[in-house]
Structures are given as C-alpha cells and as structure tokens.
C-alpha cells in the first residue's frame, strides 16, 4: 500500500468518554475471544474425563486465573451493555450527545454492578 499523508488522528484529541468506551468495546471483545477458548477448554476437559476436569478445576482455582475470570465476567457484561447501546444506535435511538453520555455511564456502571452481583452469587454458592 502506498504511503499517503494522514489527517490528524486520535493522538491529537483529548480523551473522551465516547472514544474510551468505543475502544473498550473492542478490547473486551478480544478478551472474550480468550474467554470463549476457556469455556471450550472447560467443555473439552469435562468430556475427556474426571482427571482432565480435575486439572481444569485446579487451574481455575489459581488466584491469577480467578482474577482473569473476574476480568472476563466484567468484559462480558461491559461488551453486552455497550452492545445494547450499539443496537439502539443502529435502530436510530439515543444518538443525541447527551443521551450517548448518559447511556455510556449507565453501561459502565451496570457492567460493574452485574459483575459484583455475579461473583457474590458464585461466592454464596461456593
């Protein structure tokens, strides 16, 4: 591809909620791809037998993997909430700048609350 001059790009703009949430949608999407691999490994281990499954449980019990599982849970909820924003925009709703900011804060808050609730349920279930 030919090198051509670029117009001023993201590096000259002040960081904004809108752009930050947009790039977060991509990053959580990438994290969720890894999460889907983890889910597949869980199913593969479960189908292979008791010992591979026990190994999977041991790995999942590791503190670093636990942290990763929390990050995945949050990624899931964030990508879901922000995805709903995208679906609403695609249908022509909530495109005023004030509404975009309101739904952005709402998605961010909801993702944190839902992650907390999910892990409270998991802790209660043991």
């Amino acid at each position: 591809m030919q090198e051509r001059p670029l117009s001023p790009h993201i590096q000259i703009y002040k960081p904004q909620l809108t752009s930050a949430l947009s790039i977060m949608h991509r990053m959580t999407g990438l994290l969720l791809s890894l999460g889907l691999m983890g889910m597949s490994l869980w199913l593969i281990a479960l189908s292979t037998g008791e010992k591979p499954y026990a190994l999977w449980l041991t790995i999942a019990g590791n503190i670093l993997v636990r942290i990763l599982l929390v990050v995945w849970t949050w990624s899931f909820y964030y990508h879901l909430c922000n995805g709903v924003r995208h679906l609403l925009w695609d249908s022509g709703h909530g495109l005023e700048i004030s509404a975009v900011y309101r739904s952005g804060y709402l998605a961010l808050g909801a993702s944190v609350v839902l992650t907390g609730l999910t892990w409270l349920m998991l802790a209660a279930a043991g």
Binding site: S47, E50, L87
Partner: protein, 131 residues
C-alpha cells in the same frame, strides 16, 4: 500488449466485496442471540451450587441445557469470528499478513467451535470416560 478491458472491468473486484450487509446483519443478529444465551450461561454457572465433575456432567446431560449450550457455543464462535475479522481488517493493512491472519482466525474459530460442540455431544450421549 494493449489492454482492451473497459475502465469498469479493471475497477471490478478492487473495491468492496459487496457482502458487507450480510456481515453487518450477522453480527447484530448473533449479538441479540448472545444477549439471551450469554446471560443464561453466566447466570447458570453463578446460580448452580458448585461444579464438581458429577454435577457438571449431570448439568450438561439435561436436554434443554445441552441444546442451549450448543446454541451458545455456535453463536459465540460465529460472533467472535465476525468481530475478530473486523479488527484484523481495520488494523492490518499488509495484504499477505492480513490474509494469513484472516485464514487463521477462520480456521481457529471452526476448529475450536466444532471441538466444543463435539465435547457437548460426547457428554450428552454419555461418551465420557473416567480416568
């Protein structure tokens, strides 16, 4: 040698592939499906009390769980494939690398997706071996 092709014929195939709307709609329809399926999966795990081997096997063997799990895996990998494709197309412009990555993502999605589906079916039809 003289090029007898018309300007239109030369331009064909260099622009958009013309199937963008299929991708666009597929991404959104699978998103809607995963809105339900994803919440079902996460909440099922969260509400289920413990997932030792026997409990997990018993859970997957319930017919409605197996069906919903298969749909979740299928929709998940489809949505992932479409999403990763867009990310590669947006950021990787070197044609050889871009093509290689796109093929790898396609192959990887198919391989992992089918393997996960076969795993669910194997559990459901009782093919798991102990030890």
């Amino acid at each position: 040698m003289a090029d007898y092709r018309t300007p239109l014929a030369r331009a064909r195939g260099l622009g958009a592939a013309g199937n963008g709307s299929k991708h666009w709609i597929g991404q959104r329809v699978s998103a809607l499906a995963l809105l339900v399926l994803g919440l079902w999966f996460v909440w099922s795990l969260a509400l289920h009390s413990g997932f030792d081997y026997d409990a997990a096997i018993a859970w997957v063997r319930r017919p409605h769980v197996a069906v919903t799990l298969l749909l979740t895996v299928a929709m998940g990998f489809y949505h992932m494939y479409l999403g990763l494709r867009v990310v590669i197309e947006d950021y990787v412009h070197q044609i050889a690398l871009k093509s290689a990555l796109l093929v790898m993502v396609f192959a990887g999605s198919c391989l992992m997706g089918v393997t996960a589906i076969v795993s669910v079916l194997r559990i459901f039809f009782g093919g798991s071996v102990d030890g």
